[in-house]
Amino acid sequence: MKAKPWQQAVGWALIVALLLVIQPVDRKVERDRIVLGMHSPTPLTKIVDFDPTAISGVVMGAALGGFRGLAATMMWLKMQELWDRGQGTWFSCLQVMRNVTLLDPYWIEPWKILGWHLAYNLYVETKDPQERGVLLAKGVAALKEGISWNPNTYELYAELGWTYFDKIRDYEEATKWFRASLQFPHPEYLERMIAHAYEQLPDMDRALDWYDYCLKRNPDDGTARGATTTLRLRYLPAWRLMQAGKYDEALKAIDQHLRVDPNGTIGLHVKAHIYEQAGRKREALETWRVSARVSATDQLARYKVSELSAELGLPVSPEEQAPTYLMEQYESSKRMAVPRRGRL
């Protein structure tokens, strides 16, 4: 027997009413899922910003529900195949890598390789400083995004710390990320990396603190023992004299070391730092210039040259000029810097 029209109307009205009841329940469930960390908002804007064509793959993967991990694994195998074909496929690899991270953001390996691919492989593919800046920024952003998905493991913090240390040469920023990685079970070398970063900065007191920490943690740590001996012999005398305000004696002490190793980056950084502390900005500028000339990768020296030249109203040659993206990075690090309390 068919339902009468009014019965049907009542029925449909009830359905609509129930659908309306569902909405607040659904909103509460959605909100709870985000607040309780059961679900992260869909990174739709990131997909579109990065590669609009990737959206179909990601939607398909999402529709597969629990099979996203497997789909990501298959795509990763495809990426390896592209990789093996050589350099011509590196930008294609990048898209596949990015899709893998969107499909399975809890898989750490693709984040690490994506960050490294952007900041290292693709970086050297171009000579345009602007483009390089974009690639480096994308590499850093990829690693930070990876950390937001995987905050409970040391790996991506360490990877980001290394990118700042080795590629951007922003040692202050590098130490922040290396220190963040220490909250979780981590390999021993990360503690030494912090000391190395402070050596390069240069901040010998903090470098020594960290080497001491490494030795307390593991008295058999030969690397830390060797590094602390070198630091004490080569740089510490000059550093202590500088701290005592005896700048000329400090310069003599560091020059003794530079006579043996004139291109030593740490020695040059220490010397330039002593000049800065003594208020001898021009000599500091010249020393940073030397450091920038002897090491093509010494971006900190380039930044210092740019900074001091601007301060002294002097022109900077294009080869000495730090790329814009690095200037922005260092300025941003300075703005974000938290006043230090204590040494470690």
Binding site: L64, L70, L77
Partner: protein, 275 residues
């Protein structure tokens, strides 16, 4: 109630005699049983992939069973004209529909329980080894938080049961509207689109360049589609987030509301259908 129970019992027994459903179940148990071997495809993240494949297979094959079983319930009876015999007895259409739903639901649940059991057994055997392999200890395993791992897995399986209740209702509804092939296509479509319902919400956002018409369409789609993704607890498992009973209750309540709405639509459609 008696009529509903009888139709449900008959549906349950009939469903277990369907060979293709048994084949899907056997295949699913085999895949779940061997999921640990596929886990090696992600070196260093074996445990994560084991959970992915195990839970994913349980959901996917559960959905296949629910759809293929549900879509044939009413349409088969109409095509074979056996529905006339049943409806001439003192069985109303509502009782028939509910009996069919509960019968297929019981079948899907029993299948799901077998798959869940297979997954839990594999998980209990392989998880400790994978955890050790990645150098993890409870609470600090790299890449996967393990605080509430075992209880969360059980809760995830529980939510999958709720999800399959909704899918069964969806397939039964589709079976009252279309032929079984069309009903199957419709059910799969709604299930897959429901998995990405959140995308519609994002697409409806004017910040993403959606026009007024697109906003209306996407909001409407988001409003009426069941959001199957809310039954996916994988993220909570990986983060080691404790999923409380209250949260689980809310999710279950939402699932039951979806089921009631879908069965309501099925009832209205079935009442008007010429058989």
């Amino acid at each position: 109630m008696r009529a509903i129970y009888r139709v449900a019992t008959a549906t349950f027994h009939e469903a277990w005699r369907r060979r293709f459903l048994n084949a899907i179940l056997i295949f699913a148990v085999l895949i779940i049983g061997s999921s640990w071997s596929l886990a090696y495809l992600q070196p260093g993240a074996e445990l994560k992939l084991l959970i992915d494949i195990g839970l994913g297979s349980t959901r996917f094959f559960g959905m296949l069973i629910a759809v293929f079983l549900g879509v044939r319930l009413i349409s088969d009876e109409i095509e074979k004209r056996t529905i006339h015999t049943i409806l001439t007895k003192p069985v109303t259409r509502a009782q028939f529909l509910l009996g069919k739903f509960f019968g297929s639901w019981a079948t899907v649940m029993s299948n799901m329980l077998l798959m869940s059991l297979a997954f839990y057994v594999v998980f209990m055997i392989k998880a400790p080894g994978f955890l050790l392999k990645t150098g993890g200890t409870p609470g600090e395993g790299p890449g996967i938080a393990t605080e509430f791992l075992y209880s969360n897995i059980a809760k995830a399986l529980g939510l999958t049961l709720v999800e399959m209740t909704v899918v069964t209702a969806l397939a039964v509804m589709a079976s009252t509207l279309f032929s079984w092939i069309m009903a199957a296509i419709f059910s799969f479509f709604v299930y897959f689109v429901g998995q990405v319902a959140n995308f519609f919400k994002s697409l409806a956002n004017p910040e993403h360049g959606a026009g007024t018409l697109s906003q209306v369409i996407f909001r409407l789609l988001y409003g009426i589609l069941p959001h199957f993704e809310v039954f996916d607890m994988r993220e909570a498992i990986l983060k080691g987030t404790y999923v409380g009973w209250e949260t689980l209750g809310m999710h279950t309540g939402l699932g039951l509301l979806y089921t009631v709405v879908i069965l309501g639509i099925a009832y209205l459609a079935f009442m008007n259908r010429e058989v």
